[in-house]
Amino acid sequence: MKAVIMGCGRVGARVAGLLDHTGNKVTVIDTDSRAFRRLPAGFGGETIIGTGIDEDILRKAGIEHADAFIAVTNGDNRNIMASQVAKLIFNVPEVVCRIYDPVREDTYRRLGLTTVCPTTTISAIVLDHVMRAESEPDGTRGGAS
């Protein structure tokens, strides 16, 4: 599989490393060349400096033959714009877009983007742990407060 990843932060670098390690063709795009230091040692994919909201940069990254596009910069709007370009202009079969703002995430999910919202996901996990602690008191501290 060929994947293009926009944003080489913690998530982008990790996903890139895992996909590369499992034998996929990976290209990572970031505006800052220093971001590529986050990629694991022995990373065999390509890196491209630029912004993924520019169609020419996406082409250079091989978007026309990509099976997946993953937008994980820290800018919601940049991820949204690039994902729409990947999906609607380049017809990439699998497009995943990270959006921190839950309302924006909801809006673009309805519009047909595959979205991941760390805010709602992490909040749900945290709440789940808190609720579990409340309902299953252990040891000396018992009961709900």
Partner: protein, 216 residues
């Protein structure tokens, strides 16, 4: 009319000022609180601080009753999302986006923005028109993909000394006027084109190159 302007830079500021002077109701959303204070000191209480791409900010700005959302920040991705959120969440009838990268104009319209304004293109056009002795000038774009162009017929042009009826123009291209010296000629099929004529034509933008090769 109620207009929300997103982005309080120079464009947003002068736009808000102009709309106010025309008697419209205007609200400006600007991310930087210091800039909001500056604007309100001059224009009165017209600006609020906030991220215009956020639904909460748009709701507080009264987007639900807005007639127009104008996104004029310096970032194309922000302008796109501001317009899309206004349309999807608040059903704003008309969204207008400033496009900083001219390449994004078509994309924005495809993604549902009603009107795009490319400052870069306008400035390029104006500069092109201001350069003397240009043989082919794109004067203006309109109706999505149409253009009005000004082409100067050269001595060596294939169309010089030929009647309009004999010229095979690109499909849907119309010669609307000919400027010859000080006079303006309304052409008919028999009008002969002379070297030095300025031909004003309406064409599809993707046929401009073909037209340039033919006339110049």
């Amino acid at each position: 009319m109620y207009v929300i302007v997103a982005g309080g830079g120079k464009v947003g500021y002068y736009l808000a000022q102009h709309l106010l002077s025309e008697g419209h109701e205007v609200l400006l959303i600007e991310r930087n609180p210091d800039r909001v204070t500056e604007i309100n000191d001059v224009l009165g209480a017209v600006a609020i601080p906030g991220d215009a791409a956020e639904a909460g900010t748009q709701a507080a700005a009264g987007a639900a009753r807005a007639d127009v959302m104008v996104a004029v920040t310096g970032e194309d991705e922000d302008n796109l999302v501001i317009c899309q959120m206004a349309k999807e969440k608040f059903h704003v009838a008309r969204t207008i986006a400033r496009v900083n990268n001219p390449k994004n104009e078509g994309l924005f319209r495809m993604l549902g923005v009603d009107v795009t304004v490319s400052q870069t293109n306008y400035i390029l056009n104006l500069i092109e028109q201001a350069i003397p002795d240009r043989s082919f000038v794109h004067l203006i774009s309109f109706h999505e993909d149409l253009a009005i162009v000004d082409a100067k017929v050269s001595e060596t042009s294939a169309v010089a000394h030929r009647a309009i009826a004999e010229i095979e123009l690109p499909v849907n291209t119309t010669i609307t006027a000919i400027a010859r010296g000080a006079s303006l000629i309304v052409p008919n099929p028999g009008t002969e084109l002379l070297p030095g004529d300025d031909i004003i034509a309406i064409a599809h933008q993707d046929q401009e190159d073909e037209l340039r090769r033919l006339l110049v």
